[in-house]
Symmetry: C2
Subunit: 331 residues, 2 copies
């Protein structure tokens, strides 16, 4: 237990325990460097590449860490989650690895590739299914809650859950174990699960590090929440960063962010597209728009970093190929 974190949902021991659970299950993703990035920023930049994580995003860490702690009775019942994005695939894959059923409540109009990927992860796991809903007329939380009761399944939310947050924090602990202490750590912010976990890990392993969150310009609810000192709700933001289209941070994540995050900055969709092109052209990696948030704040000069050692979490790489091709050719 770390004094610094007293009263928060997770502490560094939770992250160490998550790391042990994920050992040999999650990938220890590589840390990449880029001379171009260093020259452009005057900093020494370390990219933690969670786009190479299993199922293509950091979300696997939190989902698996949560499901691995189910009681035998919970395992028998299985897991239910609602998500149109990476959380769905993370839950489906984790459930299969742990041999339990999963039900994913997903919008009727989800991209076919995402539905297929989720069903593929569920294959061979009896009791598993994708339940479709109409996002304009139905309430996914109500559907999820009803099914959880009817089927004795445990609901795992995408970010506001201590086990999920602790799992996500292992991305930062792995990074800092590899690079040594950092001056700055940049992390994207949706509901805040990733940045909360990473901030707890970083404060412990690299005391004095400045943790900076990055939101899309159109969806700066957490920035507003920090300014107000309370969780602010916004309308679903219009941004290409679909993983950060959250309307508010969580009851568990916000107190961590408030205590351990130095500031929240924002970047525009145009800056995300330029960063996506940078990753493809110079670093040969496919990064989804949300995965570009942290890097964009650095490469576009939103957060000055000259002379500093900077960690950047590249959160994921799941983007429909046709859409991705459009981003690459359009800029």
């Amino acid at each position: 237990m770390n004094q610094l974190n007293t009263g928060l949902a997770i502490d560094p021991d939770d992250i160490a325990a998550a790391a042990a659970r994920l050992q040999g299950v999650a990938r220890r993703t590589p840390v990449f460097t880029s001379r171009t990035a260093d020259e452009r920023t005057g900093a020494q930049v370390f990219f933690k590449c969670e786009n190479f994580q299993r199922m293509g995003a950091f979300k696997f860490r939190g989902a698996y860490n949560a499901l691995a702690q189910f009681t035998p009775a919970q395992r028998r019942g299985g897991v239910i989650a609602f998500s149109s994005g990476n959380h769905a695939q993370a839950i489906a894959l984790s459930a299969r690895l742990l041999g339990m059923p999963s039900v994913l409540v997903m919008p009727q109009d989800s991209p076919a590739a995402k539905l297929a990927a989720t069903r593929e992860y569920q294959r061979g796991q009896p009791g598993s299914e994708v339940v479709l809903y109409d996002r304009y007329t139905e309430d996914r939380e109500a559907i999820g809650a009803r099914l959880a009761v009817e089927r004795s399944m445990t609901l795992i939310p995408p970010y506001d859950h201590a086990h999920v947050m602790a799992g996500q924090g292992t991305a930062a602990s792995e990074l800092i174990q590899e690079t040594g202490p950092l001056d700055l750590l940049l992390v994207c912010v949706g509901g805040g699960g990733l940045i909360a976990g990473c901030a707890v890990a970083a404060a412990h392993l690299s005391p004095g590090v400045g943790v900076v969150g990055v939101e899309p310009e159109a969806g700066n609810d957490t920035q507003q929440s920090l300014a107000r000192g309370e969780i602010v709700h916004i309308d679903t933001p219009q941004t290409i960063a679909d993983g950060a289209q959250t309307q508010h941070s969580g009851r568990l994540t916000f107190p961590v962010i408030r205590r351990l995050v130095r500031e929240i900055v924002t970047v525009s969709d145009a800056q995300l597209v330029r960063t996506m092109r940078f990753f493809a052209e110079r670093m040969k990696m496919v990064v989804e728009p949300t995965g570009c948030l942290a890097a964009a704040a650095l490469l576009e000069g939103v957060v000055p970093a000259r002379g500093q050692r900077v960690g950047v979490i590249v959160s994921g790489g799941n983007v429909d190929l046709a859409r991705y091709a459009g981003f690459l050719s359009g800029g």
Copy 2:
């Protein structure tokens, strides 16, 4: 010296010496795995990701290994090379790192991005320049030979050179050091520098490994050469694999291929595009068409590999973004 390789241009000691020269200069590129690739092939597949190498391709290894062995007089004169592709950038970058001038003879109609990248690598290196020629009316070999004499520069060819071949072989030695012995090693074939170096390394570190070369269907000169027992010359092949548009293998590379390579197979452009999409979608990496050759032979079932441990060299990731976007959206 290895009995097996007697009389060939390089032996395993040359590759070990190259590895020592490249230590801390070239990247030790990651070896990636993919459950999807394993499921599809029934094999255990290891991808050696040279698209993450400095300047985006394995070519850096051979170029640096050659230039690092220049005499003081050669260093003062500098290096000259002709190439429209990755060899140009590899030479320019290596020359800068070693503090010598470089002259690159490149086609007038080279993509602007390639010319810019080459000039960028030459920046701050007096005596360096890009010399443009008309590929329809001028002979680049003659231009190169003339400039080499006039300027006392040493010409480094893209593949038919022992130091270049030995440098390229370090890609396979690193791979096998990481994975342990392999049953099969798949390598793309242009002029044969990469596969010759890799075959020597593999025969030494993984005795009994089957080394298979992969050429574009339209440009199977090495396959023809093996069948005939002598170097066959073909017209410049029409294929999207621009790094394998060679007309013939080399006087030094061919004897190595003949002795150590089990067979040469071919893949179509359509198979390369599907493989490029696989890499982007499932492995989140940008791979150029030539870099997809070896993987395509495996993933498309051209080379059966069920139950085997298979190494695949992913040779590079340098592809114009607009062209790449076309491949991703077109398939």
